[in-house]
């Protein structure tokens, strides 16, 4: 049985200007110890997918319209608050994209760091502080014994991000949801954090959902990758297949946009046009207005996610028809 099974998740935002279908029918599974990468357009619903699993969608305006997220037999979207509390923050932990806004500016780092331990494990303060210190050192904060007593504003952006990572790992979760965990970090610290995540996976069998824009990080860490566009999954495959044989036109275009593969000084390849208005129902393929392979058919049929190789699924009508 998979550790996590998300089925037909739909999370909409009901705002003055309409209903935004931020996540619109997302399904996936995650095995114990597996690392799943989620990549895709900015605004495509990657963070909202994570928030939905963590029960952190602001309601209102947000609402989970349908779907289930079954973690080890418990549906996180429909369980009692008591059941949820026993899982979230302890067995499932999350690292947020905005590290500054998710730390309380008025509390010392030490207080925030050991809070999950005090709540979930009910261990004495002194022991919690010791564990907190060890975790800060593990994420590469030098002079941790002194710095643990600082306030968030006394840390650099990357140091705050590492505090968030330490907070998430301190309860030794079975599932870590990491939303852009290393974008604020330089490459040497990033390599160190990714190594720490890898070690925790090996030692504790921790599964990871990694949301990132850095395709280099994905290729080093993830077993499988899932590509999102406009609230839907358009392609999912094991990492090698996705990098060496991407099928969906959006995935191909995304790959072409990577700066390191393009000559310096040239204009970078970009995908023309803009992402669709999520407040308007999209009848066909959401990528159709920007896709260079679009035919009429694409605009009126929503392409289903279809298997095109072992474990490789994609949602493009023309790829499915063997035309591209």
């Amino acid at each position: 049985m998979p550790l996590l099974t998300v089925n037909d998740l739909r999370t909409y935002f009901h705002t003055r200007s309409g209903v935004y279908r931020a996540v619109d029918g997302v399904s996936f599974t995650l095995e114990r110890g597996e690392t799943l990468g989620i990549v895709g357009e900015s605004g495509s619903g990657k963070s909202v997918t994570c928030y939905s699993i963590m029960g952190l969608v602001p309601q209102p305006p947000g609402r989970i319209e349908s779907g289930t997220a079954i973690f080890d037999g418990v549906d996180l979207l429909h369980c009692t608050p008591r059941e949820a509390r026993a899982i979230r923050g302890k067995r499932v932990a999350m690292i947020f994209q905005d590290s500054m806004t998710s730390l309380n500016p008025y509390l010392r780092i030490s207080e925030q760091l050991i809070e999950p331990l005090l709540i979930h494990e009910k261990i004495p303060r002194a022991a919690a502080l010791k564990a907190g210190l060890a975790m800060l050192e593990a994420v590469g904060i030098n002079d941790a014994a002194r710095r643990i007593h600082y306030y968030p504003h006394e840390f650099s952006g990357g140091m705050r991000q590492r505090v968030m990572i330490a907070m998430a790992l301190i309860t030794k979760p079975e599932l870590l949801i990491a939303d852009e965990p290393t974008t604020a970090l330089d490459v040497t610290v990033q390599a160190q954090i990714l190594e720490l995540i890898r070690t925790m996976q090996r030692d504790l069998g921790m599964a990871v959902i990694l949301v990132t824009h850095d395709l280099g990080v994905v290729s080093g860490l993830c077993d499988r990758v899932q590509v999102m566009y406009a609230g839907r999954i358009v392609e999912t495959a094991d990492t090698r297949a996705l990098f060496y044989a991407p099928k969906h036109p959006y995935t191909r275009a995304l790959q072409r946009s990577i700066p390191s593969t393009q000559a310096k000084g040239t204009e970078l390849f970009t995908i023309p046009g803009m992402p669709p208005d999520l407040a308007k129902p999209i009848a066909g393929c959401a990528f159709a207005p920007r896709c260079s392979f679009t035919v009429d058919h694409c605009r009126d049929t929503n392409p289903p996610l279809t298997e095109c190789g072992p474990g490789h699924f994609q949602a493009c009508l023309r790829v499915q028809a063997g035309e591209i």
């Binding site: 935002f13 900015s42 002194r146 140091m159 590492r162 610290v189 390599a191 700066p259």
Partner: protein
């Protein structure tokens, strides 16, 4: 013919650390920026890279006069900002704009996108009132945001969309210099490419000068004319962008370049990194001599003797390492 728009001479920014609740006492000083000399040419893009916590954001905030400078001078078009009057500093605000690392914290949560972008236009009387809306729409389009988002609030946007609002706001006053602190880290590669093309084009068209701070070295290499590598409050290497990344000279730059992740699973899983031993040092009591020596694979006795100055290595390159000739 060099034509510097911005010049930093021996700039230092130190933060006192206070401890104690009732009786404050100074427990030390963080030398976040400790002697930086740099010049930015008109129309140039200068990339600034370095370890997390090495002082990049503090240097940016020092240039913008958002933190008090401890020492040295910051000169914008001949005017010394570090010793200028408050009024002078305010005037230069218009010519120099900053995009912050954390777009959520830097946008007012109670202001719609329209209000956010219209405010500087109105305050600085950039255009007649009647043209404000058209101007805002143009700004939004410039950064790839659909004008239909105009009446939305920051929390209604994704991380990447918020960053584009912040960039549009920095562009509103058509500044001469933009200090961009990790402006594209939060963006997907396609939008990142759009923003980079946009910044490059603005640079060409408006002769905009740009200090570009980022962790993604392939991005920095692509957009920058020159790259400055910082380590613990100082510049340790400076040179033409492609050259610095392809032929790094300083041992820290070498380690940095070797850690760049490549978007290629087979390469990424088999390649060799220069793993840095030890932790990043503390800016509170930095190591003696070259601050990198405790982690440097080439360190010798001599490295602890004095802080190595930035010395010309080849005509366009400067490196701060005493053992450069031997390694």
């Amino acid at each position: 013919m060099p034509d510097p728009i911005l010049e930093l001479r021996d700039v230092k920014t130190h933060f006192p650390i206070q401890r104690g609740f009732f009786i404050k006492r100074q427990a030390g000083v963080v030398k976040a920026v400790d002697g930086v000399t740099l010049s930015l040419q008109r129309g140039e893009v200068l990339g600034l890279v370095g370890e997390s916590g090495c002082g990049k954001s503090t240097l940016a905030r020092t240039i913008m006069q958002l933190v008090p400078t401890t020492g040295g001078t910051v000169v914008l078009e001949g005017k010394n900002l570090a010793s200028g009057s408050a009024a002078e500093v305010r005037r230069t605000r218009r010519d120099m704009q900053m995009v912050f690392q954390d777009p959520y914290a830097s946008l007012n949560p109670r202001m719609t996108v329209f209000a956010t972008l219209a405010e500087p236009l109105i305050v600085h009387r950039v255009c007649p009132r009647a043209e404000v809306t058209a101007r805002v729409i143009r700004l939004m389009e410039t950064v790839g945001l659909a004008p239909r988002f105009m009446q939305k609030y920051p929390h209604e946007f994704s991380g990447g969309q918020r960053q584009r609002i912040a960039i549009a706001r920095a562009l509103a006053l058509e500044p001469k210099v933009i200090i961009a602190d990790e402006p594209v880290s939060a963006l997907d590669v396609s939008i990142q490419a759009q923003i980079l093309n946009l910044l490059a084009e603005l640079g060409r068209r408006m002769n905009l000068s740009l200090v570009f701070i980022a962790h993604d070295l392939s991005v920095v290499k692509h957009i920058s004319d020159r790259i400055a590598v910082m380590y613990l409050g100082r510049i340790v290497e400076l040179g033409p962008a492609a050259d610095v990344i392809e032929r790094p000279r300083h041992p820290y730059t070498r380690a940095l370049v070797s850690a760049i992740p490549t978007p290629n699973p087979d390469v990424e899983r088999t390649r060799q990194r220069i793993v840095l031993a030890g932790d990043p040092p503390s800016p509170i009591d930095p190591p003696a001599g070259c601050a990198f020596h405790p982690r440097c694979p080439h360190a010798r006795e001599i490295c602890q003797a004095a802080v190595p100055p930035l010395m010309p290595d080849s005509p366009a390159r400067e490196v701060a390492c005493v053992r450069l000739a031997e390694i």
